[in-house]
């Protein structure tokens, strides 16, 4: 017989959990006590805030493909996880969060640090459960892992009352192999494959949009083979970046509000639109009433609720794209689409002239964010991971970072969580100390979770943190400039000395204000062995273009 707390830890070990990101507190103390005995089998990372713990687990899960594990106490410990849960839910990140809860006999009595975690986390989890008896702990954790990683991944929460943690029970771990009410994988319908292939083979201007679904299905190779044979131009969503190397001949750019000019504009000129593992987010589609109305849409998607949710499709191909893509590849003709590609290339020239020359090639005036990313491209490894926060720096980093490998992109896409990057980068780095992890943040977002410098210090994770500082909440300021008559309402920041803060946390820190210093500083950062903080003071009022303004159509993408 062992204590419930031991069962918690042993269950996590049985699920091959490598890391626990967590923060102790009263109602989870028995589990922390048990952890003390298993430090040779599972590593615990003490963050400085529960939000930091869950974002770190997200970063870890996104780059490793494993389930991220979070441990927190009841009440405020649990409520501090909510932002991360919502983030992981909308970005389909597999997490198992374990929270302590007051003893079962105190439930509903407003006990100290009691909160209704099940009720609070319900909309932000794929599944959640409260465990009140020791014998229910292991089955609940087994089910939690199964649900988190099976089908469309997502966050799961297991709330365990303190009495269950201290009671004694048998430890007999049985992994969950199936749940009768949960059948996420369907057999691919051959009629759908045939219909999709027919549309594609007859198309003059077919166009592929791929999203994170390709990465979550581990179907990068299958996507590549499909594109190799069909010769169709392909554009990436924000979270799809990396699923296909940008060096692949089919790659034509990025989609969405601040994506590339050609891929957005030409969405309304294709005749067959093949969406693979993406969900037609409003930041991708702009005004739905004027989105790809001329096209027949083929949608390869695992989640039935995404079919026809935003964009009506002519042929739904429901199922795992790792299975459906090879079937489709077999059924389509070998083809090339030179003229159609040429249209992308021509529009690329316009974007280059109107936007990129300013962003990347300026020789005077303040530094631009794009210049920093371009230098990072020069020095980074091919498999370097880019973690970004939310705002202008996120869009610029994404636009100019050269994605060559899968799982090199970690950002808060759906929820747009400022403060995500610093802890997420830490989690990504812990997965593999040898991989370069470059964390690009803005001066707003970094201050939302800046305490995680402490976790970087303690773990010695060699994260490279690049702060692009414009002393503004830049994206909001950009909108104020463009849509609110330049009324810069509460977006200018008086900032601290970030270098001093980083140094206080024992990070090597450098600040760059001049263009001629930048290259050497970026090189120094990349070559530095330990954690490094680079602050780059950039132009205060730069804007991110191209841009599809809210309510506009993809063809109204503007260059200035």
């Amino acid at each position: 017989m062992v204590r419930g707390a031991d069962i918690v830890v042993r269950s996590l070990i049985a699920e091959n959990a490598e890391f626990i990101f967590g923060y102790p507190g009263g109602a989870i103390m028995p589990v922390y006590d048990a952890l003390y005995d298993y430090s040779d089998q599972i590593k615990h990372v003490l963050t400085r805030h529960e939000q930091g713990a869950i974002h770190a687990a997200q970063g870890y899960a996104r780059v490793s493909g494993n389930v991220g594990v979070v441990l927190a106490t009841s009440g405020p410990g649990a409520t501090n996880l909510i932002t991360g849960l919502a983030d992981a839910q909308i970005d389909s990140t597999p997490l198992v969060c374990i929270t302590g809860q007051v003893a079962a006999h105190l439930l509903g009595s407003d006990a100290f640090q009691e909160t209704d975690v099940i009720g609070l986390s319900m909309p932000g989890t794929k599944w959640n459960i409260q465990v009140r008896r020791v014998e229910d702990i292991a089955p609940a954790i087994a089910k939690a892992f199964f649900i988190a990683k099976t089908g469309r991944p997502g966050p799961v929460l297991v709330d365990i009352t303190k009495n269950a943690q201290v009671e004694f029970g048998e430890f007999l771990y049985q992994p969950c192999l199936g749940i009768r009410s949960f059948r996420p994988y369907v057999t691919i319908n051959p009629t759908a494959i045939a219909a999709a292939a027919q549309l594609i083979n007859d198309a003059k201007r077919p166009y592929v949009l791929y999203g994170q679904g390709v990465i979550l299905a581990n179907a990068e190779e299958e996507l590549k083979r499909f594109l190799d044979k069909s010769g169709i131009p392909a554009a990436s969503t924000l979270l799809g970046s990396g699923a296909l190397s940008q060096d692949h001949p089919s790659y034509v750019g990025k989609l969405g509000m601040h994506g590339n000019y050609a891929p957005n504009l030409l969405t309304n000129q294709c005749d067959v639109l093949i969406a693979i593992g993406m969900r037609f987010d409003d930041r991708v589609t702009g005004d739905l009433k004027r989105y790809a109305k001329q096209a027949q849409v083929v949608h390869l998607e695992l989640d039935p609720s995404e079919i026809d949710k935003n964009v009506k499709c002519a042929v739904p191909v429901l199922g795992d794209c790792k299975t459906s893509l090879p079937l489709l590849t077999d059924a389509v003709n070998s083809n090339t689409h030179h003229e159609w590609f040429q249209k992308f290339r021509e529009l690329d020239k316009e974007e280059k002239a109107a936007v990129m020359s300013y962003d990347l090639e300026s020789t005077h005036g303040g530094l631009h964010m794009g210049e920093v990313i371009q230098l990072i491209n020069q020095f980074k490894d091919e498999n370097a991971i880019l973690v970004t926060d939310v705002g202008q720096h996120q869009m610029i980093s994404w636009r100019y970072f050269h994605y060559k490998e899968s799982r090199t992109q970690v950002t808060s896409g759906g929820l747009g969580t400022m403060g995500f990057a610093l802890p997420a980068a830490l989690g990504a780095q812990l997965h593999d100390f040898k991989r370069q992890v470059i964390c690009v943040v803005g001066d707003g977002g970094i201050q939302m979770t800046i305490q995680e410098f402490g976790t970087i210090m303690q773990t010695k994770a060699p994260v490279k943190v690049v702060l692009l500082n414009n002393n503004y909440l830049g994206m909001v300021r950009q909108w104020q400039q463009l849509f609110f008559d330049k009324r810069y309402s509460f977006t200018e920041l008086e900032n601290p000395d970030f270098v001093k803060i980083a140094e206080a946390y024992k990070l090597k820190a450098v600040k760059v204000t001049e263009r001629h210093e930048l290259k050497e500083a970026v090189a120094q950062m990349i070559l530095h062995e330990g954690p490094f903080f680079l602050e780059v003071v950039v132009e205060k009022e730069d804007n991110v273009f191209p841009m599809i303004a809210t309510g506009c159509s993809v063809e109204e993408v503007r260059l200035s």
């Binding site: 099940i118 009720g119 794929k126 009410s181 949960f182 039935p304 079919i307």
Partner: protein
Amino acid sequence: MNRYTILVYTENFIGILNRITIIFTRRGINIDALTASESRLDGIHKITIEVTVTDEQIIQLSKQIEKVVDVIKVYYFMDDEVVYQEIALYKIPIESLDPSLEKVIRQFNAHIIAAEKEFVVLEFTGHKEDTQALLEILKPFNLLEFSRSGRVAIAKPKFSITDYLNNKT
């Protein structure tokens, strides 16, 4: 907008009803009526939801409900595809019992299911329109209290949860 009956078969899991109703809350859709009970199969619950929505909304709603891990299967039907009933109870003061009320009770084929010193309770089942019609008639009789259940429904099209659970469909 159409009136639909959604039949949801679920595992008997704490919180499942909340997981389902927040799908409606989030989309600002009002649930007209809801009943929950055990189904004919042990351990499987049946939730009947009546809702007035568009064709597109009902498809999205049923997909979102079916996405819930502990939901086994979701079906939705138009009114003419289900046999449905609602039960209503009416509490009437004893002084109101006169020949005209007796006539009403006979007409509607309602039942007196309780008689106390100060009041009687009438029971009547039917569609909402029918129970509503009786309510309007009883109001002048100093009706003390009224209570109407949600819809219980049986679908006309043939389907079997047992077959679904055994992978036969």
